[in-house]
């Protein structure tokens, strides 16, 4: 069977092969010519197409071909010497571009505004790199997640007038995350980065910002954008668990192991009633679990490492290690404790942390309540109020 399949496949491919060579010309025609710069990017379909879990996901533009990369093909073509030259030239370009952005430029920076309660700062894109325990000064154990901000740059700003915000109050800021080789990317995608003058990125995402918090494309964002003691919301895609039963998916109790149970230990039990004679929509049943986008809100930032650009965020964050997440200023308690929040947010760098203005920060910024590992061990005071 397999053999006949191959034979048929070969026959089919022979036809398509000749077709390919004939049509390759047209493909190449598009490819060779410098097409006009297109500002809109063709929408790609997202990975999941499940009916129940279909949610508006960000556009997935970076689709590498894992089987055999363009770089491999190129390396087969060129001598090692020439290939090395090409790769070096990319590196140099990247460096020169990044350096050019860091030094003062001819064109003037964008106007800066003071923070107002209506302002909304941008978030950052970060990578989840792991979890570890930490302790407060009262000896309470915390579990923190480490989020690293890697080569996060502003790519473009869509002003309020052009954005699709119905209230016309917020603009869009596109951020890129983790520089990568251009071999993996399409020409169309690369053109966006050429405009901003930054090296191409693996992941891009959009953030809504208020008008006064707009940042010039090309500006790097650091972990110091957030400060210890602040609360953030983290947006990520949860780990795909596949098709799961009700006990794992919805935390049902299951049914007893013995006492006359037949094949009903992990099943949901009754799902309908005699009254309406059908299963109501929305009933909790087995199905695909995970692989959906989730917000985890109100996570405290305990510590910020400015050297490696790491945020130490309280608790858990959706997604795998090495997965990307979006980190925002938290919107919780906005109405309840508005006054307190305003005091807090007003002290943050606005619209973001600029290295030249604030000067060099300390390597580690700690929250006041957090135990530092340099400090001596914790001592609890006795009732008499003296230390032992």
């Amino acid at each position: 069977m397999a053999a006949s399949m191959l034979v048929r496949a070969v026959q089919n491919t022979r036809q398509t092969w000749s077709n390919c060579t004939r049509y390759a010309s047209l493909e190449n025609a598009q490819w060779t010519l410098c097409l006009p710069a297109v500002s809109t990017i063709l929408p790609c379909r997202t990975m999941t197409t499940r009916r129940r879990d279909r949610l508006p996901l960000p556009q997935r533009l970076y689709v590498p071909d894992r089987t055999r990369t363009d770089e491999d093909r190129q390396a087969e073509e060129l001598t090692p010497q020439n290939m090395a030259h090409i790769q070096e030239s990319y590196k140099e370009e990247e460096e020169s571009l990044t350096q050019a952005r860091l030094c003062p430029l001819k064109d003037e920076p964008w106007p800066r505004h003071a923070w107002t309660p209506e302002s909304r700062r941008t978030g950052v894109l970060a990578t989840k790199i792991g979890m570890m325990p930490m302790w407060t000064k009262t000896g309470h154990r915390l579990t923190v997640t480490l989020l690293q901000v890697q080569d996060c740059h502003v790519i473009r700003y869509i002003p309020v007038e052009d954005s699709d915000d119905p209230d016309k109050k917020q603009g869009m800021l596109t951020l890129g995350h983790r520089s990568c080789s251009p071999f993996y990317l399409s020409e169309e995608y690369l053109r966006m980065f050429e405009k901003a003058g930054i090296p191409p990125k693996r992941k891009i995402a959009e953030f809504k910002v208020s008008m006064d918090a707009a940042i010039k494309p090309g500006t790097p964002l650091y972990a110091a954008h957030f400060r210890p003691g602040q609360y953030v919301d983290v947006y990520g895609k949860t780990i795909d668990k596949g098709f799961q039963g009700v006990m794992k998916r919805h935390g049902f109790k299951g049914q007893p192991a013995s006492h006359g149970q037949t094949k009903t230990h992990r099943r949901p039990g009754a799902i309908g009633t005699a009254g309406h004679g059908r299963v109501l929509p929305g009933t909790k049943l087995p199905g695909p679990m995970g692989n959906v986008v989730r917000y985890t809100r109100g996570l405290k930032i305990w510590r910020v490492n400015t050297k490696h650009n790491i945020l130490y965020v309280n608790g858990q964050v959706p997604g795998h290690n090495d997965g990307w997440v979006k980190v925002y200023d938290s919107i919780l308690y906005k109405s309840k404790h508005r006054k307190r929040l305003e005091d807090h947010l007003g002290s943050l760098p606005f619209p973001t942390y600029f290295e030249e203005e604030e000067g060099e920060l300390e390597e580690d910024l700690y929250d006041d309540e957090l135990f530092r590992f340099d400090d001596p061990s914790i001592v609890f005071e006795t009732a008499e109020g003296k230390k032992k």
Partner: protein
């Protein structure tokens, strides 16, 4: 019980043999010994090399092994170690631990016991002490880097032949009864670590785990077989043996690279501390002048 069984089977001591260029330790020349001292036998311990505590070695096959994360975690561990002295100790050593406790009278608590288990890695590393007080067995699991720990003292440095000594729970009480006023036994750092090779006699079942199925050296197997095991359990014993495991090369864990990274980080930390001191001294001198 079932939960413990899972932990036991998953623990890396049981499944992953450490390779680290010291796998073939028995016949290896002493000069080529690796820095992994936890795995070396007495005769080959090279004192010129540094001791690396086992929690520095990340377990094999971490989901995503990020060098930055490991570096940050190690830096914190080394910072804590520069404040309190965490000595070299093994499973089988007798330790005395002093911790701050808000609920204890005098706000401090001291406990003495034999270390039966070490677990976790990085900042989350733990060790478990066991003792019998007034005929009641007590085990306390300490977090090694918990800031409430004030002192960890090794009363008697010794090393068990087994990766853990949880079987002491089912052993006669004399093996885990330790006097709280035990005098510390001095150990010459140049001498090899003494091996704890007592064969423990177990109490009659029920047990915490089916010890006849686990190949642990510290259990008196002959006594167990003659006194405690029924014919049914004896028959099942051989069924659970896995003699091929030591030849399945895929389960080996080469830790040489990890050890090198750890040593590099240690060096980095020392340099950073030295530089900080020098700058502080300079600043002081300037102030004086």
């Amino acid at each position: 019980m079932a939960a413990f069984g899972r932990v036991l089977l998953r623990s890396r001591q049981n499944l992953c043999l450490r390779w680290s260029s010291s796998t073939v330790e028995a016949a290896k020349p002493a000069a080529a010994a690796s820095p992994d001292i936890t795995e070396l036998t007495q005769g080959q311990k090279n004192k010129t090399q540094r001791f690396i505590s086992p929690e520095f070695i990340i377990p094999r096959g971490m989901k995503a092994d990020f060098p930055t994360k490991n570096h940050m975690e190690r830096m914190d561990m080394l910072r804590r170690r520069s404040v309190i002295d965490i000595p070299e100790f093994y499973v089988g050593s007798i330790l005395s631990v002093l911790t701050a406790d808000p609920y204890a009278p005098g706000k401090y608590q001291q406990f003495v016991g034999i270390c039966i288990k070490r677990g976790g890695y990085g900042l989350g590393a733990t060790f478990t002490l066991r003792n019998i007080v007034n005929g009641q067995g007590i085990e306390i699991c300490y977090e090694l880097y918990n800031p409430t720990i004030h002192q960890v003292q090794v009363l008697k440095l010794q090393k068990s032949v087994d990766p853990h000594m949880v079987y002491l729970r089912d052993a006669l009480p004399e093996y885990s009864t330790i006097d709280f006023n035990l005098e510390p036994v001095q150990h010459n750092p140049e001498d090899p670590v003494p091996i704890l090779d007592t064969k423990v006699i177990l109490k009659p079942p029920p047990w915490y785990w089916r010890w006849e199925r686990v190949e642990l050296q510290g259990i008196n197997r002959e006594h167990m077989r003659e006194n405690h095991l029924s014919q049914k359990r004896l028959d099942k014993m051989d069924k659970h043996r896995k003699p091929w495991m030591e030849f399945d090369l895929m389960y080996e864990y080469d830790t040489t690279q990890v050890e090198q990274d750890v040593l590099k980080d240690m060096q980095y930390f020392e340099n950073a501390v030295r530089r900080k001191k020098e700058t502080a001294e300079k600043a002081d001198e300037e102030e004086k002048t």
